[in-house]
Symmetry: C2
Subunit: 112 residues, 2 copies
DNA sequence: AGCTGATACCTTATGCTGTGAGGTAGTGTC
DNA sequence: GACACTACCTCACAGCATAAGGTATCAGCT
């Protein structure tokens, strides 16, 4: 589903951010959507229509696991990252560094 | 054609790189395709089917101008950046910094 | 002379990905 | 009992890059 000649990273950012957030603590979908906005200081604002399908995909790939939990009179699907998801996170992080590095090579050069 | 709620930057990378390259010197299409591979150390490798349409689009928007030139027995379309293209480059650079910064905020945090 | 491969340009069909708009349902407040 | 927020979900649509195709010229080889 991934694997291209070019880093599939110009699209796959949501996957990276979701896995990273889950690597820190168990979270539920709605919370993730908000967290991405807040923690990137509005640099990103992926819609629910993007994040939910990603969570389902990640779960089907055993990158994350979910469990139903009742909190504050609310029923929520909490997601945890799996070891496989952790490996995936490492891969995506490395690829992001490659991408950001590549652009820095061209943009950087002679100023801040 | 651009303008979204989210930075349209996860796709618009080619536009940024093309403008940046042209801001340094006059270049032709084929050369740009190669330069992106080489100067990003293979981090990116956009195909001709991506770059040529971009050049045409940029020209139609007066971001770049072109002229036919005979060099080494070859006929080439050389492109130069215009003042408008320069402004666009500044905008895209700023947006890239926002994006890269946003991801760094999440990824960075508490380790290297 | 004929072939191959590189240069140089171009276009099209296809596919992935996120958006935007929708829809359900429960909770809390005024 | 109306409204807003939480929490989940889906689908039609569109942007963007890819892969694969096409044309033509030039250099080198045999």
């Amino acid at each position: 589903m991934l694997k291209k000649t070019n880093p599939s990273f110009l699209n796959g950012v949501p996957e990276l951010l979701v896995l990273k957030l889950l690597s820190r603590r168990e979270m539920y979908g709605y919370e993730i959507v908000r967290a991405i906005q807040v923690e990137t200081r509005e640099a990103f604002s992926f819609g629910e229509g993007c994040i939910y399908p990603y969570l389902h995909y990640l779960e089907s790939e055993k990158m994350v696991a979910s469990r139903r939990k009742e909190v504050e009179g609310r029923s929520r699907n909490y997601y945890q990252i799996t070891p496989r998801g952790g490996k995936r996170l490492d891969e995506l992080s490395a690829e992001w560094n490659r991408v950001a590095g590549g652009i820095a090579l061209l943009l950087g050069g002679q100023h801040a």
